[in-house]
């Protein structure tokens, strides 16, 4: 099953469950509170996911390692390499 299909199944399942509870499609006679809570759920979930995404990406950008050491080390090794290669006869 492709990821797309997995998502479609998952979303359909959630929407059907939501519709059944919110609109009382199966005449389940659920307490009013269930319906009141279920009704805005899709919007809540979307907004929550949006906030989670922003927070996660923001955090990851903020903590993205800056490899200063690696860059310095590379510069030094480049010098060393050029010198050694010159000795070995490389004509750049």
């Amino acid at each position: 099953m492709t990821k797309l299909l997995e998502w479609l199944f998952g979303v359909s399942f959630v929407l059907v469950a939501w519709a059944v509870v919110s609109f009382d499609l199966l005449d389940l006679s659920l307490p009013q509170t269930y319906r009141e809570v279920a009704w805005p759920m899709p919007l809540y979930l979307l907004v929550s996911f949006g906030c989670y995404s922003l927070a996660t990406v923001g955090y990851r950008v903020a903590t993205f390692n800056d490899c200063e050491e690696a860059a310095k080390e590379l510069q030094e090794q480049i010098k060393e390499a050029k010198e050694d290669l010159r000795k070995k006869g490389l004509k750049m």
Binding site: K3, L4, V57, R60, F64, E68, A70, A71, A81, G89
Partner: protein, 240 residues
Amino acid sequence: MLYADKYSVLLPTYNERENLPLIVWLLVKYFGESGYNYEIIVIDDGSPDGTLEIAEQLQKIYGEDKILLRPREKKLGLGTAYIHGIKHATGNFIFIMDADLSHHPKFIPEFIEKQKEGNYDLVSGTRYQGNGGVYGWDLRRKLISRGANFLTQVLLRPGASDLTGSFRLYKKKVLESLVERCVSKGYVFQMEMIVRARQLNYTIGEVPISFVDRVYGESKLGGNEIVSFVKGLLTLFATT
């Protein structure tokens, strides 16, 4: 104990006259120090700047058993470069990496040890975990990188933290079977390799790496690349 393992490093090059000697020097240094058996396969796509000529000099310095030249006539793309390189590789393991010094050979022993630790089918270098990271990226670039990676994780749930990275170690048979199945180009090609690896139940290990970008200033990540990335991502989402 005799090491039966041999590591072939595939270096596709295009206009890397300046960098090729340096990356080869570093590879020789770190492989030499580690004692592992290796070869470096330079796949030059008809570079007009004389990369091949420099490669020939390096071959004289380090030996034809260590530096193999398998050039092609023109720029033919990464997937075919790997296929071409694999054909000539005598190792049972293959390293793929960039030849522009953004990937540092000092991580090679770590890749090898990681692979042995779990007998992984492939080991992927990650910029996003542990003390992996990047040098030379501004906020915009970091934001695009993390944002794209997040989107990829949500849509594909790939089981690897860095999908667009191209510093990897593969078992030769694994690389062969993946390359023939992958159809994408560019960044998406590297992503597709990981996604297909998961599909085929190959095991994936990770090693944090530092990525030193000396090129970013000259070639900013533009709208075109972003669009083609999203297209490629959606294609993978819908077809795998």
